[in-house]
Every structure is written in C-alpha cells, then in structure tokens.
C-alpha cells in the first residue's frame, strides 16, 4: 500500500520528500533561534486550512493568542480568519509550570479529541524538557505514541543547543527530522533546510538553501551547487 501524504505547505519541500509528509506521522523541525521553525509550522497549518483540514497549534510558551497573532500577522500568507476555526490554538505553558507530565499528556489528548485535527503543531517541544527533566524521555515516548495513533500529521518544533545538530532525545522517536540552520557565508547569514530522516521516503539529502519572506513564509530555493 502506497503511503498517503499531505502537502507540507512549504514551496519546494514536497518535491524533496516524495510529495509531502506521510499521513499520519510525527515530525521534528529543529533549528537554533531565528531559523524559521514557527514560520515552518505556520506554513504547514495554513496549507491544511486552505484544503479544509483542521489544524491545532499547541504552544508551550504561555503565549496569549493575540501575542502570537501579532507576529504571525506580519506574514501575508497567514489568513487570520483561519484562527479559532480551521486553526485552533491551545496554550499548555501554564500547565507545564504547575502539573506533571501525565496531566500534560491528558490535556494534549483532550485538545486533539475536541477538534479532531489532521494537522498538529507543538511549538516548541524542547521547553518541556526543562520542566520535566527526569521524565522527559518517558514523556516524549508516550507523547509520540499518542500522536502516532491520532490520524494526523504532527510537527514538533525543537530548539537546538549550540554544538548539537538536533535534539537527540526526540529525533529517535519521530518519523522524520528536518533541520533548519543558518551559516555565515561571505559576511551574510544564509538559511538552509535539510531533511535528515523521513521514514518510508526517498528524500533529497544535503543542505538546501531557503528563504523566509513575508509573502510566502519559507521557500526552499533551487540548490546553487
């Protein structure tokens, strides 16, 4: 049986990954600050909304909706009318500070069951590690297991620590890992996207140049090499 796939919503990425993300699956998008992880996630959710798919954006940052929208609205590709209808927003940041990881899993499960999304984003997942240090591995294992059984494609965004190519604790559990990076070349910082792993997919390997624009969000550019 051929894997069913959904479009990533990123110009140029679907061609690199056999037509889109396998459905259902759990994916990690990792990178250091400013590489475009949240923009990537927004591209993904907006694409789904355009296709009539339900999206769920779970933030672990305790960020109020209007604060997130304030920045998101700077992008022309983000249609605000999708928020609170095709794209639901859930803040679990407060829970992280007050409750254990099991409660957090319950709440995520509940939010998914409520709106039955086909696309889920948890942004950023690495924050959870700071709160549940001892239970982080167990939490990730259980979270990924739960997410794989819901019929959705989930993107977990992850902050990369200096000297680390990607958050190792998460990458072993997920179906795919996409790395966003910035390299200093000829006095400017250039952005790159690299598909490190995607199960069931003959994907393009190596760093591909990318751009972030207010018009389209992330676009993978044709390689210069």
């Amino acid at each position: 049986m051929k894997l069913e796939r959904i479009s990533s919503g990123i110009d140029g990425l679907d061609e690199m990954i056999g037509g889109g993300y396998p459905f259902p699956s759990v994916s990690l998008v990792a990178g250091s600050a400013g590489t475009g992880k949240t923009t990537f996630a927004m591209n993904f959710l907006i694409e789904g909304a355009k296709r009539g798919e339900q999206g769920l954006f779970v933030t672990t940052l305790s960020e109020p909706t209007q604060w997130m929208l304030k920045y998101a609205s700077q992008f022309n590709f983000i249609q605000k009318e999708y928020f609170d209808s095709e794209i639901k927003y859930a803040d679990v940041g407060t829970l992280l500070q007050k409750k254990g990881y099991e409660k957090l899993l319950d709440i995520i499960d509940e939010k998914i069951a409520e709106c039955m999304p086909q696309r889920i984003v948890i942004d950023p997942i690495t924050v959870v590690g700071a709160f549940f240090e001892e239970d982080y591995r167990l939490f990730l294992f259980e979270l990924v297991n739960i997410l794989k059984n819901w019929q959705a494609v989930t993107i977990l965004t992850g902050e990369v620590k200096p000297g680390e190519p990607y958050p190792p604790q998460i990458s072993y559990a997920v179906d795919s890992v996409i790395l966003l990076s910035m390299l200093e070349e000829e006095g400017t910082r250039r952005k790159y996207l690299e598909v490190l792993k995607m199960r069931g997919t003959n994907h393009t390997s190596g760093k591909q140049p990318m751009a972030i624009t207010t018009e389209n969000g992330i676009t993978v550019l044709k390689s210069r090499f």
Partner: protein, 206 residues
C-alpha cells in the same frame, strides 16, 4: 462536535436510510478524514438511529475511538469493539466487557469468525449476532499493510457470505477511493452502494 458535524451525521444517516435493504456499503472519504467520518457514522447509528453494532478497528486501537465518542457525548451503550490492532500498537490490552481482541491484522481470515461468533464468547457480555444492526470497519485499506490483495479479496468474499447469512446487518467500510484505486475496484465489485462523504460534506458546507 459542532453544528456542522451534527448536520453531517444526520445527512449521512438520511443517505443510508435509503439503502438499509442493501447489505454492504462503502463510504468514500479523503484519507485525512477517515477518523472523523467513522465518528460521524457512529454518531448517526448509535445516537440518531439508536442501533446496536460493532466497530472493527484495523487502523488504530479502539481506545482512540472510544475516547472520541466519550468526548463528543456519543453513547457507547450499544457499541462493541473488535480490536485487531492494539496487539501491534505497543498499547496495553485492557480487558473490557465491550472489546474483543484479535491477535493482529495479519490473519484477516479470522476476523469474520470473530464477528460471527463473538456472541458466543464464554466470558459473556458481548452482543449476540442477532442483535447486531451494523458493523463498521475503520479503514479497510489498512489491511493491505499486512495482507496481499488476493487475501484481501478472499476476505471481502467472506464478508459477502457473512451478509448472505445475516442480511439484517449493515456492513460498512470506509476508504479513500483516490488513494486506493485497486482496492476500491474490488469493493465496488462485491459491495452494493457507495456513499460519497465528500459530496455530502460539500452540501453541508453550502
């Protein structure tokens, strides 16, 4: 479940009512909507029609649908699960009165027997076959992950025989015909009618 979802469930049931004399129905839906379509079907059968039935899970453990039904206030009083996937999912198999577990989706030939004889389960608690109004298979294309097409066709034929024996039971399978054209061809050959969920959804959206 919002107003649109409830309207969708009602519309699906309206469509089915005209085909209750048929024994086997195919529900065509986009692959991203299979879970939601099954929820709408169960809402329609259990809450609107007050039917009793079986939900056969091949795609994901029954706990997920059970949880969804609970979250959306759909009564499970008259619903029984046959779970062919928990065994391979890494989840714990918790014994419950309304669940019968299969060892895995690799031996689909045993599935019909499980449906046929589950009423004779010595532990009791299961619905006798004469009281089953419907059964739904959550995502029939999934069995192609575990069985070849010949075996799947044999299985579909055995479903037909089952329905000849129990014509009061409405058999329902969900599939995305675009993603699974070969399987869809086989289903069309043996099944009575196809309900196009995507078309009904468009009517509800208007």
């Amino acid at each position: 479940m919002n107003r649109k979802d409830i309207l969708l469930a009602e519309k699906i049931i309206e469509e089915i009512r005209g085909h209750r004399t048929s024994s086997m129905l195919i529900f065509n839906t986009n692959f991203t909507q299979v879970g939601k379509t099954n929820l709408m079907l169960l809402k329609g059968f259990l809450d609107i029609e007050k039917d009793s039935g079986l939900f056969v899970v091949l795609d994901r453990p029954h706990q997920y649908m059970s949880y969804l039904l609970r979250m959306h206030d759909v009564s499970q009083k008259n619903l029984w699960f046959i779970d062919a996937v928990t065994h391979t999912s890494g989840l714990e198999r918790k014994k419950s009165d309304n669940v019968n577990f299969l060892e895995g989706p690799f031996h689909i030939e045993r599935l019909i027997d499980t449906i046929e004889f589950h009423g004779k389960d010595p532990t009791g608690g299961f619905l006798p076959i004469e009281k089953v109004d419907f059964f739904i298979m959550d995502n029939i294309a999934t069995i192609l992950n575990y069985n070849n097409m010949d075996k799947v066709e044999e299985f579909i034929k055995s479903m037909c025989k089952f329905h000849e024996k129990h014509p009061h039971i409405l058999g329902c399978v969900t599939i995305d015909k675009e993603s699974n054209p070969e399987l869809n061809e086989v289903l069309i050959e043996y099944f009575d009618y196809m309900v196009d969920i995507e078309k009904i959804k468009k009517e509800v959206d208007v």
